[in-house]
Amino acid sequence: MFEVIADNGILAAIVALVVLAAGFGALLGFAGERFRVEGDPVVERIDALLPQTQCGQCGYPGCRPYAEAINQGDEINKCPPGGDTTIEALADLLGREPKPLDGEAQQSPKVAYIREAECIGCTKCIQACPVDAILGAAKHMHTVIVDECTGCDLCVDPCPVDCIDMLPRPRSLDEWHWPQPAGPGLPQQATSLSLIASDRQLSEDRRSQRGAA
């Protein structure tokens, strides 16, 4: 048997290839079982790009269902809290064309604020909040935990006495950052660093002196 194969070149090649194919096939199959990825990694990555406000403005009950829907081929421009940046990031990830936002873009991050004097303690907003950011009990005043609120608006409609306002999120000092300069040809803002024109001349003189010495 072995001699027949050894003598016949073409047969030897075929046997060798079959053995290799079987070996690698088994290896791949094992690896596929051993290192199986639970869930759909693309959905995870889409979900990571969404703002997680869980507001439902896209028509899905939360960000993850929308991520799944995008993976199934739904449009990528249905997320108003994310705005253009999210659309661009999604387009980048999925290799699709970015589209203008479907809906009104949000101006600035907001948080819900309960006018506590008017709250009747109905717990309807608590049930509506997707991130458990409202604290309270039946017939007791409710309040919003500002740090947990995503500004999704979902508590506003259920409130029977309309005591919930959406206010701009308070910004701490750490969150402030310098604005980008206007660009070439435009006058600089007052916040720009002010170089000392006379100093610049002096320093150039000094440098040339150093050079001469």
Binding site: E38, D47, L50, P51, Q52, T53, Q54, G62, C63, R64, P130, V131, D132, A133, E148, T150, S172, L173, E175, W176, H177, W178, P179, Q180, P181, A182, G183, P184, G185, L186, P187, Q188, A190, T191, S192, L193, S194, L195, I196, A197, S198, D199, R200, L202, S203, R206, R207, R210
Partner: protein, 575 residues
């Protein structure tokens, strides 16, 4: 003269320090009203612990730090708290922030509330660290990093050298210079204290050669101190004047030829850097029990008739300091806090002095003219030659303009120390540092948003899991009730056999049981994983474990829901 090394780049701007070094350090007049913003340091703001109307003594705490990275705040005059409200603060945002306002009766004498004095040579390190925490001492060089955190850095890193950063390289500023001339022994003692606390083997004083008086004072103080007093050797290293040798990383490179790794801290290479002002404040906190209530401020610029350095109480209004220094209001063109290269303009003089106010430059229009119009980059490469961090400022500029944040980070934008050398030499007057600051801010804001989103996602998942569990439990209770009811009817019917008999265990429910068991195993695994991650985070000393805790709770809820389901399914199939 010992060997010194060099950092790349650097510039030689005119120093203009002579304006404010001609006068001795003096004490500013005691203000009648102080404004103490609650966020004067890096980290979380402090929480007020006084009421409006409460009488406070000088040195009494008015706000207590919250969280890890924070600092306490103390009353800087004896008086009454008249308000706790948002006040304008000296911050580049020109915004308002919550502050404690204290007013005093001009005739009433000052009374102090000090903590008991400690002997820094014998007190144990826990006592000393606790004292620093209660004294509100932060880095007085300009960054405002809480000192007690730096004092505890030896818990995670081995420190061999403590550097006293007395380089003070930025034009105009002379606060450290005058401090060293006036109180050299206190600074050295403060350095000894913190070196002992950190377990450092030696102390290096890095100072630029443009401060001969300060160097002489230090040397005299060093000669004065008896040898047994010196627990660890102190060496004064004079370096040639070049901006920005006062940068922490630059000074370490110059003195020790060690480089702080990108994104790292000096502690990673066994070094701790402190500003002389911080050292004196530390010593005062320990030796005298006096919390940080004042600091040395340089008042300079050509719009002042009597420029100089003053020791001012925190919260003193800037206008009263400037008036004391003879402000010529009509000549004032621009008011800067900090130096001309790294500082920022202030919109008004009705702002208080804070812990990080090291210098106020009241400049005339000819002295600090408005910045010229920005021209297009001509790719001359001058910025790259002067960058002390060996970055590529020109590339970073293009990335900043194009908002290519990933690339900017790839080119180590966060290693930029914002010294302003590149903008200083730019022939096109491009405010390069401004671009970098804006880009850094945008990147940080993006990171914060991502963190918030992640947090919201965990909260949402937890809520979903909880709802799921509640539904499962409700279902189980309903089934139990239904079963009890059917048992009662069966009992009533007595011997009469049930017409339907025992329901056959269909393939459906078997399949369901199997699936539930698999789901249970998966939920157990994810709970274990979440718990492990939490334990790891706890071991590595990470304080931000809230999200991980939520993840563990979510996994627990999921597991509970599945177990309830499984139990009721088993019950159903066994009957």
């Amino acid at each position: 003269m010992t060997r010194s090394f060099d950092f790349p780049g650097g510039i030689f701007p005119p120093e203009r320090k002579i304006i404010s070094t001609r006068q001795l350090l003096r004490e500013a007049a005691l203000p009648t009203r102080v404004v103490l913003p609650l966020d004067q340091h890096i980290g979380q703001a402090a929480e007020p612990c006084v009421r409006v109307g409460q009488a406070v003594k000088t040195g009494e705490p008015v706000a207590i730090g919250q969280g890890m990275l924070t600092a306490d705040l103390h009353a800087s005059i004896t008086g009454t708290v008249t308000a706790i409200e948002a006040c304008p603060i000296p911050h580049p945002s020109q915004g308002r922030y919550l502050a404690v306002v204290i007013e005093r009766d001009p005739d009433a004498p000052e009374t102090w509330q000090r903590m008991p004095a400690l002997d820094w040579r014998s007190a144990d390190s826990d006592t000393l660290t606790e004292r620093l925490t209660r004294s509100g001492v932060v880095g007085l060089g300009g960054a405002g990093f809480p000192t007690q955190i730096k004092a505890r850095v030896h818990e995670r890193h081995r420190i061999d050298t403590l550097i006293v950063n007395a380089a003070e390289c930025e034009p105009y500023i002379t606060a450290d210079d005058l401090l060293l001339r006036t109180y050299p022994q206190e600074v050295l003692d403060g350095a000894r204290l913190l070196a002992r606390l950190a377990g450092a083997e030696r102390i290096l004083v890095g100072i630029e050669d443009n401060k001969p008086e300060a160097i002489a004072a230090l040397q005299a103080a060093l000669a004065d101190s008896s040898p047994e007093r010196d627990t660890c050797p102190i060496e004064i290293r004079v370096v040639t004047t070049r901006y920005p040798s006062g940068g922490e990383k630059q000074l370490i490179k110059r003195l020790l030829d060690r480089e702080v790794p990108s994104g790292g801290l000096p502690a990673d290479i066994g070094v701790l850097c402190h500003n002389p002002g911080t050292l004196r404040a530390t010593l005062q906190a320990v030796r005298d029990g006096q919390p940080l209530v004042s600091r040395i401020v340089t008042l300079t610029g050509e719009a002042l008739a009597h420029p100089g350095n003053v020791e001012a109480r925190l919260g003193t209004p800037i206008h009263s300091l400037l008036e004391e220094a003879g402000l010529k209001e009509r000549e004032l063109g621009q008011l800067l806090m900090g130096g001309p290269l790294m500082g920022f303009p202030l919109a008004s003089t009705a702002l208080p002095i804070v812990k990080t106010t090291n210098c106020l430059v009241a400049a005339t229009r000819t002295e600090l003219p408005p910045p010229p119009v920005e021209q297009p980059c001509i790719r001359c490469g001058a910025c790259e030659e002067v960058c002390p961090a060996s970055l590529l400022p020109q590339q970073l500029y293009w990335f900043a303009r194009g908002r290519e944040h990933d690339k900017a980070q790839l080119f180590n934008l966060f290693d930029c120390i914002e010294c302003g050398a590149c903008a200083y030499v730019c022939p096109s007057h491009i405010p390069l540092v401004q671009y970098y600051r804006a880009t850094k801010g945008e990147i940080r804001a993006h990171r914060l948003e991502a963190q918030r989103a992640e947090h919201a996602r965990h909260r949402f998942e937890f809520r979903q899991a909880r709802i799921e569990r509640e539904a499962a439990e409700k279902e189980a209770r309903r089934q139990a009730r239904a079963k009890a009811a059917s048992r009662v009817t069966a009992h009533n019917a007595e011997a009469e056999p049930s017409p339907r008999g025992k329901p056959a265990l269909g393939p459906d429910s078997k399949e369901q049981l199997k699936q539930l068991r698999i789901a249970q195993a998966a939920a157990k695994a994810s709970l274990r994983k979440a718990e492990k991650a939490l334990a790891r985070a706890g071991e590595s000393g990470n304080d931000d474990t809230a999200d991980l805790e939520v993840q563990v709770a979510t996994a627990q809820e999921n597991l509970q829901a599945i177990e309830t389901r499984l139990a009721s399914a088993k019950e159903a199939s066994s009957t």
